[in-house]
């Protein structure tokens, strides 16, 4: 796995990715790509980005040895990458910081974003408050209901939260509305996409900004163990925390990379978001990637207890990594994810987001096949305060 170098100059990850968008957006996407390619090697831009990550976001986030979970399973040593300790409570701010700096360079006055769990919306509202830009966040009505605290946080931060009532009223529909807003206001507005999805160059830009997770993890695990981990586990909805964690390890063939999707009520229930497990390639929201669709090519209405994973598509780079078999993808049900919440909370005193709890819950499925001299890193992409009402409602 040497010379992994994607996307190509056409914005493709193998056959995936691309720019399947209305013509109106092409000039903005091209402008975004060309300014980003300049900025990413501009020492001043990099310095601004790193300073904000350190002094505002609180990076580097710790890599915590999970002693009691390790004892509980008596398999591999388990470490947790603590993105839950980022400012605003999830990895989403890593990307929002980078993109707000780009928006400033582009001279845009207005920022729009979509959000599912509300974490990306909060991160975007946060950087807009800090940089004094107008902020509109699209959020499905179902998600507004189940992630109330984050709605209040966005409003407190001065953002306008626009409810989306079309389709399944979740992340997919919020993204459609954000894209339509961008089509209508592209000249003064920057769209901060929250995951490694959408048209090129977004999957690349978001990945690059999130890669700080994996870069830090590499250094931290070397310091702690003087070797690379054997396994890395991360949850996958659109897939930004997972790509951020995996990307710096892709060429390390001995590190097994595991993406965990949401199986909702079960992969046979018809109510799940296991896109890479059960989907097939298609074109959706600007990209060619794995999607969940019906026999007529209509996008499926999907389900997960976790609003952040409740999405019928996935980042195109994950589609490529699946086909290459470099990352293995599995899925975890709502019920299993809730058990993951309890496990991490009771044994380590860490309340994970329902999204991250899917990665935690996957330990149950494979950790007994590992030995004590192996190392597993689990990405805790966010904290679970936002999910308290859902978790309480689902207490047995």
């Amino acid at each position: 796995m040497n010379n992994y170098n994607y996307p190509d100059s056409n914005g493709k990850f193998g056959q995936y990715g691309g720019k399947f968008v209305p013509e109106t957006l092409i000039s903005a996407l091209n402008e975004l790509e060309s300014i980003y390619l300049k900025l990413k090697i501009d020492p001043l831009f990099i310095a601004d980005y790193e300073q904000l990550q350190k002094e505002y976001n609180g990076r580097p986030t710790p890599l915590t040895y999970a002693e009691r979970i390790t004892e509980h399973y008596s398999g591999a040593k388990i470490y947790l990458k603590r993105e839950d300790l980022c400012h605003t409570g999830a990895h989403k701010l890593n990307n929002a910081i980078g993109q707000i700096l780009i928006a400033k360079k582009l001279g845009k006055k207005r920022i729009i974003a979509e959000t599912g769990a509300g974490q990306h919306g909060v991160a975007t509202a946060t950087v807009c408050a800090k940089f004094g830009l107008e902020c509109v966040v699209y959020m499905g009505e179902t998600d507004i209901e189940r992630q109330k605290p984050n709605v209040f946080r966005m409003q407190l931060l001065g953002a306008e939260v626009r409810p989306v009532s079309s389709g399944s009223k979740t992340l997919k529909d919020a993204t459609n509305e954000a894209i339509r807003d961008w089509v209508s206001n592209v000249e003064d507005t920057h769209y901060i996409i929250g995951s490694v999805v959408g048209p090129h160059p977004y999957p690349m830009i978001v990945r690059d900004f999130q890669s700080i997770i994996g870069i830090e993890t590499r250094e931290q695990i070397f310091l702690a163990e003087n070797k690379l981990p054997n396994h890395i586990v991360a949850c996958v909805g659109g897939g930004s925390n997972a790509i951020g964690m995996f990307y710096p390890f892709i060429e390390d063939e001995n590190v097994s990379l595991i993406g965990v999707e949401a199986a909702g009520f079960g992969v046979n229930s018809g109510k799940h978001c296991a896109t890479l497990t059960l989907g097939e390639p298609g074109i959706f929201q600007g990209m060619n990637t794995y999607i969940l669709q019906d026999e007529n090519g209509q996008i499926s209405e999907v389900h997960s207890i976790s609003a952040g994973l409740d999405y019928p598509g996935v980042g195109p780079e994950h589609a490529l990594l699946k086909d290459m078999e470099r990352v293995k993808y599995f899925s975890i049900t709502d019920e299993e994810a809730l058990k993951g919440v309890h496990l991490l909370t009771r044994l380590e005193g860490i309340l994970p987001a329902l999204e991250s709890a899917h990665a935690v819950a996957y330990l149950e499925k494979f950790i007994r096949t590992t030995s004590k001299d192996e190392i597993v890193v689990v990405n805790i992409s966010g904290r679970g305060d936002k999910d308290l009402s859902t978790i309480i409602d689902n207490l047995d």
């Binding site: 013509e23 092409i26 000039s27 089509v183 074109i283 669709q293 007529n296």
Partner: protein, 275 residues
């Protein structure tokens, strides 16, 4: 020359701008859709842009989104769209153009889609989420690509769109690649009725129209009134009206009132040469 561009040319030679009416296939009802479309043609539409319903229509505003949702609830799929097309074409020689998002077409199979579209007599195709950049990859891997290059074999025109954000160079490239006509999107935005157009819209139409060398130009998005047709007629060869008609249907207007809107637009297409 393509069937569509020849057809528009014939109209223009008779001092008429072409009037294309957008209808969502199988909306508001699946059963009488064919009869309704025949009435639309009789009311003065020169061509029909038939929308293939999709669950996630990114380029569309609320009106067409709603019609698309209703059509899907009516159980409309691509087989139905081809059947509608065939029946409508049997009634009239006016061209039918399909407008559909990439995914349902891809799922159907590009080659199957082209075969079935051509066999049902469809003359053109608009895929709003396949811009220039994706044209080759989307339409590749089949005999189609070869056929597309050998124009004499091509019976289905792939029509590309320009927008106010397209650069001059891009518009020229789009003109080169597009067949049938170039679809000039009047505004920066999604589909929907626009009450007022800015001077910028007119400047852009003038710019785009003057850049085209190969194709006829049809203007769409926002157009709803005879005045719009008259105002834009110096800078186009025809107009496309969608949301105004769909809205009338959604509002539950009497059929004759919906058809009256079309005959009003048609009259404007006729008289616009005299302005």
């Amino acid at each position: 020359m393509s069937y569509i561009s020849e057809y528009i040319d014939q109209l223009n030679k008779k001092n008429r701008k072409a009037l294309s009416i957008f209808l969502t296939a199988g909306f508001p009802e699946k059963n009488n859709f064919i009869d309704f479309t025949k009435n639309v043609l009789d009311a003065g539409a020169d061509m029909i842009e038939l929308g293939i319903p999709f669950s996630d229509p990114l380029a569309d505003g609320p009106v067409i989104q709603t019609s698309s949702k209703i059509a899907l609830d009516n159980g409309v799929n691509l087989k139905d769209v081809f059947a509608f097309s065939e029946a409508i074409i049997a009634y009239s020689n006016k061209p039918i153009i399909l407008m559909g998002y990439a995914n349902p077409i891809r799922k159907y199979g590009i080659k199957n889609f082209f075969n079935d579209a051509i066999n049902s007599g469809v003359k053109g195709l608009i895929v709003p989420d396949v811009p220039l950049e994706e044209y080759d990859s989307f339409f590749s891997n089949s005999e189609l690509q070869k056929n597309l290059k050998q124009k004499h074999k091509l019976k289905l025109d792939v029509i590309l769109l320009t927008t106010p954000t397209s650069s001059d160079e891009r518009i020229q490239e789009i003109d080169t690649k597009s067949d049938g006509f170039v679809y000039c999107v009047s505004v920066v935005g999604t589909t929907g009725i626009k009450n007022n157009f800015s001077i910028r819209t007119q400047n852009n139409l003038r710019r785009t129209y003057s850049l085209l060398k190969k194709n006829k130009m049809m203007i769409g998005f926002g157009i709803s009134k005879p005045e719009d047709v008259i105002n834009f007629s110096p800078y186009c060869d025809g107009v496309i009206v969608g949301s105004r008609i769909i809205k009338s249907l959604l509002d539950g207007d009497k059929p004759e009132d919906t058809l009256k809107i079309i005959s009003g637009l048609s009259a404007a297409c006729e008289s616009s040469y005299t302005y």
